[in-house]
């Protein structure tokens, strides 16, 4: 499973890294995307490109357009083109293994970016997903409620992430639950992480306990929207803290309005920046195991141990809204729509 030693450390370190890689000039850093059609990868690319070119290296990329076969050919092409480091967002993490082996044989260094590829020579850079659950629970304890009746709105039962998140949440809440301070009054999976399904589940939960709910742990922002709508209908929105993740614009607006406590935000620019900095360092000859914040990870399907850096996400609460606005993730207008003047510092 996850080795968690390095999570917080990595976050702190990545910010100060860019200066170190200045002498890596003239190397080729390449990326193989699984499908560039999806909006989010454009954000990642911009972040990666900026760091790579900022260090005087050259940036190349290829788009596999959702085909495992094309991605394999892409990587082979990138190897021949003389890439020193290739970042791969794998479309099929098993089918891509031969390409990783070919790269290893050719002496090209590989980074599996966001999607785990279980090749012992590749570095794995991703967000810390169990950490998201821990962060939600931690924020709830620090800024929401420490005790009372808690409802848990989990994601889709078929998605392992829903369970990972819940593990992280429980890890943090367990002491208080064992002490009888926190009571689990409702706990349901939500089909397809659907907000409307979460709303129905929350309505039933409130009915079954006659509105005696003190806090709601929702595993993402979309479902938090449904939860807040259900709370609103009972006049409880705002007085019952609700968690979420993804940094949805609507959720950040709810954070500003006070109906949602926190949205844990995985800023893909942070991930891209970190990965690009590691790529610069590796291109420069640094071994993956010596990178700052690196640890061992063997939580994949095959249990292969790889070097990994797990980047901690950012729990955005009301007092941290200025960070998302300053990062350009959302506009101030979007975050602050309908917010009473003076109630949120970031909106002034």
């Amino acid at each position: 499973m996850y080795r968690k030693i390095m999570t917080m450390a990595a976050g702190a370190l990545v910010l100060g890294l860019s200066t170190l890689s200045a002498e890596a000039a003239g190397k080729n850093i390449c990326v193989s995307w699984k499908t560039f059609q999806e909006e989010r990868w454009k954000t990642d690319e911009a972040a990666i490109k900026a760091v790579v070119e900022g260090a005087g290296n050259k940036f190349f990329s290829a788009d596999a357009q959702g085909s495992a076969a094309k991605q394999q050919a892409d990587i082979e092409g990138l190897i021949t083109q003389g890439c020193n480091v290739i970042l791969v967002v794998a479309f099929d993490s098993d089918a891509i293994l031969p390409a990783f082996q070919a790269a290893a044989d050719a002496g090209v260094k590989m980074i599996s970016y966001d999607v785990l590829v279980e090749h012992p020579d590749a570095l794995y850079v991703t967000f810390d997903n169990v950490g998201v659950g821990r962060l939600m629970a931690k924020t709830m304890l620090e800024k929401g409620k420490q005790e009372g009746d808690f409802a848990f709105i989990k994601g889709d039962k078929g998605d392992p992430n829903a369970t990972f998140l819940f593990q992280g949440i429980m890890e943090v809440l367990k002491p208080n639950m064992d002490a009888g301070k926190i009571k689990n009054v409702c706990e349901t999976f939500t089909d397809g992480w659907k907000p409307d399904a979460a709303q129905k589940n929350m309505e039933q939960c409130l009915t079954s306990v006659n509105n005696k709910v003190d806090a709601v742990i929702s595993e993402n922002d979309g479902m938090a929207g449904g939860v807040v709508a259900a709370l609103e209908a009972q006049g409880l929105a705002g007085s019952v803290p609700v968690t979420g993740q993804d940094g949805d614009k609507a959720a950040l607006n709810r954070v500003a309005l006070g109906t949602q406590l926190v949205s844990v935000w995985k800023d893909s620019r942070v991930l891209g920046k970190a990965a690009a900095e590691f790529a610069n360092m590796i291109a420069d000859g640094k071994a993956a195991a010596e990178l700052p914040g690196v640890g061992k990870f063997s939580g994949g399907a095959k249990g292969v141990e790889v070097n990994a850096v797990l980047i901690p996400p950012n729990p955005v609460t009301k007092d941290k809204l200025n960070e998302v606005i300053e990062a350009g993730w959302v506009s101030k207008d979007e975050v602050c729509a309908g917010v009473a003047a003076g109630s949120v510092p970031a909106c002034n």
């Binding site: 929207g225 009972q234 949805d248």
Partner: protein
């Protein structure tokens, strides 16, 4: 009516019939519907008793299911699927299927949301009263246009409806994503929000106690008028009449159901938090023991009821409806009778698309946001509701009220199991089994009636 299969003019074995059969024959009540209502009551009572064991509450049997609050929410939760299933019945009756309704719902919802939040809001000012009217009208038009497009491909290009709408299922889900690129659009317009039945500020999306009682009484009067009018018609043509007692039984039973439901929705009061907010904003002082302000019928439930009545009228009392059933019974015969079956096909799919847009409005208003996942899997529930309600996939057979009752049965099961904190895997398994079981019972029933 042509779809009702009861005739009391030639019954050879009248004397040997049991009391129940005689009752059903005299009142001409569809015994399938009675069966479904019976099943529904069993489910409700079962959940209330079970929840009494688990946690206790103020329900009829000490549980938390048969409480005004839960029943009120149950009706609201059912309304979106119930609206769509009225159209699905007609589609299935015509021997077609529409797998795309959930995706049309998602797509129209994000379009409505986008118009409200990103276009009209900034253009005419957030909260402008024209916003909800314009976006609702455009949303309905969009849904109808998509449906008409599917219908044209089916009717004029001869592509099977299964394929066209399977494509639609994928296409419109993708289109929904493209419109908002995976984001959530929120919040919806404050007037539009009332369509979902929630509370917008201190304005509830329901009509309150007095209006609800008036509505209940009007519906009662309509039932009595219909029974009276039916009798007059039969007299005019010298047809066999129902016995007088049967007429009274129908009128009284109908009114009891309507007024009973009205009583239930009026027994669900504003939650304390809302009352406090209302008092604060209006300057009313709430007495220490609290105030009971009734919700009454909620707007989405009224929409579903209105659409149910309108669709029943359409199916049973208009040429359009008659043609739909005739096409389902024998498409070739309908064509030979001079019916423009292609036009009817396009219209039915357009109607379905528009109903999906109505549901899109209800769902997004209720959630107070639009997401591209809205309505996912709804096609399955809509089809299942129609089938549980007695619609035959072979075509030609099905009723609107049956399908709506089917939707209520399914939502009751889901809500009840959630209330009991069932695992969601168990819920899925139960709903799936009930679907198959209901159809089997239906088959057995139909064979025995013959």
């Amino acid at each position: 009516m042509s779809m009702a299969a009861t005739d009391n003019t030639q019954t050879p074995a009248m004397a040997q019939e049991g009391a129940v059969t005689r009752f059903l024959r005299a009142t001409e009540i569809d015994s399938r519907m009675l069966g479904m209502i019976g099943a529904l009551l069993v489910i409700w009572i079962g959940f209330d008793a079970a929840s009494a064991f688990v946690r206790g509450g103020e329900g009829l049997l000490g549980g938390s299911f048969l409480t005004p609050r839960n029943l009120w929410i149950l009706l609201v939760q059912t309304s979106s699927i119930a609206v769509m299933t009225t159209g699905m019945v007609l589609i299935i009756v015509m021997r077609h299927i529409d797998l795309s309704v959930g995706s049309i719902l998602g797509f129209t919802a994000v379009c409505i949301g986008t118009m409200q939040v990103y276009w009209l809001g900034p253009l005419v000012g957030v909260g402008h009263p024209a916003i909800w009217i314009i976006t609702l009208a455009l949303g309905l038009a969009l849904g109808a246009a998509i449906g008409a497009f599917h219908g044209s491909l089916i009717a004029y290009f001869g592509i099977p409806s299964f394929i066209v709408t399977l494509g639609g299922l994928i296409v419109w889900r993708g289109a929904a994503w493209s419109v908002i690129r995976g984001e959530t659009v929120a919040p919806m317009d404050k007037n539009f929000k009332l369509i979902g039945g929630g509370i917008s500020g201190i304005t509830p999306g329901s009509i309150g106690a007095i209006a609800s009682w008036i509505l209940g009484l009007v519906i009662c009067a309509a039932i009595v008028a219909m029974i009276y009018n039916g009798r007059k018609q039969r007299k005019r043509f010298n047809f066999a009449l129902r016995p007088m007692w049967a007429e009274y039984v129908l009128a009284v039973a109908g009114c009891i159901v309507v007024l009973g439901v009205t009583w239930v929705v009026n027994a669900y009061y504003w939650p304390k938090g809302v009352v406090d907010r209302w008092a604060q904003q209006t300057g009313v002082t709430v007495p220490p023991e609290g105030m009971n302000i009734a919700f009454g019928y909620s707007i989405p439930v009224l929409i579903a009821l209105g659409i149910g009545i309108a669709m029943t009228f359409l199916a049973n009392r208009t040429r359009f409806g008659r043609y739909i059933y005739a096409i389902g019974g024998n498409p070739e015969a309908a064509e030979l009778a001079g019916i423009n079956t292609r036009k009817i096909t396009v219209l039915v799919f357009a109607l379905m698309g528009m109903l999906a847009a109505v549901s899109a409005s209800i769902s997004s208003a209720r959630l107070d946001s639009a997401t591209n996942a809205l309505g996912q899997f709804d096609e399955l529930y809509v089809i299942a509701a129609a089938v549980i309600g007695g619609t035959s996939l072979a075509g030609g057979l099905g009723t609107i009220y049956g399908a709506m009752l089917g939707a209520l049965v399914m939502q009751s099961l889901q809500s009840g199991m959630t209330l009991l904190n069932f695992e969601s895997a168990t819920k899925d398994m139960v709903v799936g089994c009930v679907l198959v079981f209901a159809v089997w019972i239906d088959q057995v029933y139909r064979r025995r009636v013959k």
